[in-house]
């Protein structure tokens, strides 16, 4: 079953937004306008977009150190996100967070995380609060195949199943063929199994593996898991195989032409009329340009900003 054209175009638009934003980030980093290099989401857009299409504003996500796709798909404002990456006062977190620690609770992005697997236990907590409040909200916990091994992640899978929490675990496996870490082809594998989703059974929840470069497949499979969580039937572990198209965290892995065949945006673009896809790309380029202009024209935080927010004032 194929999605209708309007829905496809909506999904395509957000994927293009992420890609365009990240291309700008890459350039701004090279130019020194963004002070740090960090992991990008290029090639994985279909996952965040296909999942987030089922989420409401009050649903929370826990993300990773490749968070931009997750944040944008969840609806984060591009202007404030770009300002944060530039370390500006108008950023979501006054320039204190940067790419690894961005929090935007108003759109349900709680948040990026600098420690591999670090957000996963907290995401169970977002879901726990939803369960207690009976608000029919859900949480989505993103992590990679590397993060899937962390003790905290394994413990959280167990806890979520024991408590039947309304959470969807989304593992983006970016080593579908050769196991790599930060672009380095490792001499021992990180995983002794092909599919992370095999672990779901051990913890007592459904699990399945899908291609992460086909947004329609992501949309369908994530929809089932989100509906299951929302209706109080408990957690699911979804695994999506993805190809990172623009090299590793430190840009040391040459982008691989062969991997272009798994570019989710190129694949998707073939399914909608050319005039529409052209318009979407032009819209999003303008959208991202406005975010860049906003970020560049924003103020640096005052030095005093360094000392605030260690504790919240007692009211």
């Amino acid at each position: 079953m194929s999605l209708e054209e309007g829905k496809l175009a909506d999904l395509y638009r957000v994927m293009v937004r992420i890609r365009t934003f990240e291309n700008a980030v890459r350039k701004l980093t090279r130019e020194g306008k963004i002070p740090a290099r960090f992991g990008l989401y290029t090639g994985q857009e279909a996952v965040a977009v296909g999942v987030s299409a089922h989420l409401k504003t009050g649903d929370q996500i826990g993300s990773t150190h490749r968070a931009l796709g997750h944040l944008i798909a969840k609806g984060c404002d591009l202007h404030r996100l770009m300002a944060e990456l530039m370390g500006k006062e108008a950023g979501f977190n006054h320039g204190k967070a940067g790419p690894y620690h961005t929090f935007d609770p108003n759109t349900g992005a709680l948040g990026a995380n600098g420690v591999v697997g670090g957000s996963v236990p907290m995401t169970a907590g977002y879901a726990l609060a939803d369960q207690i409040k009976k608000n029919r909200m859900v949480a989505v916990s993103y992590f990679g195949e590397g993060g899937s091994n962390q003790g905290g992640v394994q413990e959280t899978l167990n806890l979520a199943a024991c408590w039947q929490l309304p959470v969807v675990f989304v593992c983006e496996n970016s080593s579908p063929e050769v196991q790599r870490m930060l672009g380095h082809e490792i001499d021992y594998p990180q995983l002794s199994i092909d599919n992370v989703s095999l672990r779901a059974k051990n913890y007592g929840m459904p699990g399945s593996t899908h291609v992460g470069w086909d947004v329609e497949e992501v949309y369908r499979t994530a929809g089932r898991a989100v509906r299951r969580a929302r209706s109080g039937k408990g957690p699911t572990l979804l695994e999506y195989k993805v190809h990172q198209l623009e090299g590793n965290l430190e840009g040391r892995l040459e982008s691989n032409e062969k991997e272009r065949q798994w570019d989710p945006i190129e694949l998707m673009g073939k399914k909608i009329p050319r005039t529409l896809s052209d318009k979407i790309r032009a819209d999003e380029a303008a959208n991202v340009q406005r975010a860049i202009d906003f970020g560049l024209s924003s103020e640096e935080p005052a030095p005093e900003q360094a000392y605030t927010d260690v504790f919240r004032e007692v009211s």
Partner: protein
């Protein structure tokens, strides 16, 4: 011994190479230790094989704990932690098991393991990728804590650490990696617990560690002519060369302690406490601490600079303490 100029990272690599040649019980593992992009360990897998040099999954608890276990039964593991902050994932294995096994066993077992840890701010990496944390490790009984500041010390201290029969946290500031210095090509030891007078002086003692030794030396050079600054690098926080600190303060009567780690409950307070307990009568001015305030390190470079110690802040502290 012939000396030549190499980087801090190359010096670490040479220490691994020399010791692994010498002792086949030395094994090495951690995240990406076989990578050509990791200077301290590159080439070691090719030289010693994948039996002894292993990439570990991103599971700090498991691979640090495996190091502890292997050490207890006779291996000499060198385990690399990609960043100090990530060690917090494995606090039980480090702060309970690694640190306390010797004592808890009544000396029946020991943990001759070296946990190499990359540390340090100044790269706009934010609150979970920038910490020093040597004070945290030094606070726990049972861990030796090594903080080299130069290529020469990096090689000699790592060799001593590997040979020492106890658990060691060996902390390498990321910004020291490209720093060059003269290093002998042979293997040599720099003893643990032996401070280095990096620069002699008579008016003010500046005690600093790791990257901050370099900032302290720059500060000393800047005030030269006005204030004669002695820069003392303890090189290891545990054991701490108390005599060297007391000797220097006995000479100068004035103390500034510089630390990139957090101010409260840390190295800087420890040194001031030592001096006030054992050399109180020698001080002619209140000591000054220049350390990172207890605030998570922000992403923005301007905010990060605001919080971190640097040459300018050390100069100000030196001038202030010298004016009393």
């Amino acid at each position: 011994m012939p000396e030549r100029e190499i980087t801090f990272g190359q010096a670490l690599n040479e220490a691994h190479l020399a010791e692994m040649e010498r002792d086949t019980n030395i094994i090495l593992f951690g995240e990406n230790v076989s990578s050509q992009w990791r200077e301290a360990t590159k080439g070691l897998k090719e030289r010693f094989g994948r039996e002894r040099v292993r990439d570990a999954p991103i599971t700090e608890t498991a691979f640090i704990g495996a190091g502890v276990g292997a050490a207890i039964v006779g291996m000499r593991p060198i385990v690399e932690l990609m960043l100090a902050d990530f060690g917090l994932v494995a606090m039980d294995q480090i702060l309970n098991q690694m640190a306390k096994s010797t004592y808890m066993s009544g000396g029946k077992v020991s943990v001759p393991m070296t946990l190499r840890v990359l540390t340090g701010a100044g790269t706009s990496s934010g609150a979970t990728h920038s910490e020093s944390l040597h004070g945290l490790f030094a606070h726990m009984p049972g861990l030796k804590v090594v903080v080299p500041s130069s290529p020469y010390d990096a090689k000699g201290l790592l060799i001593s650490s590997i040979r020492d029969p106890n658990p060691k946290i060996f902390m390498e500031h990321r910004l020291l990696y490209p720093v060059k210095g003269m290093v002998p090509s042979e293997a040599y030891e720099v003893p643990l617990g032996d401070a280095n007078v990096v620069r002699e002086g008579s008016d003010v003692t500046v005690v600093a560690n790791s990257l901050m030794v370099r900032e302290a030396v720059k500060a000393a050079e800047e005030v030269e002519g006005d204030v004669s600054v002695e820069v003392l690098d303890p090189r290891t926080l545990v054991p701490l060369d108390e005599d060297a600190i007391l000797r220097s303060v006995g000479k100068t009567g004035r103390l500034v302690v510089v630390d990139e780690d957090y101010l409260r409950y840390g190295f800087s307070g420890e040194v001031v406490a030592l001096v006030s307990e054992k050399a109180h009568g020698k001080l002619v001015a209140p000591p000054i601490r220049v350390a990172t305030p207890n605030i998570p390190l922000p992403y923005n470079q301007r905010l990060e600079r605001e919080l971190l110690p640097n040459k300018e802040k050390i100069v100000a502290a030196v001038r202030k303490v010298a004016s009393r």
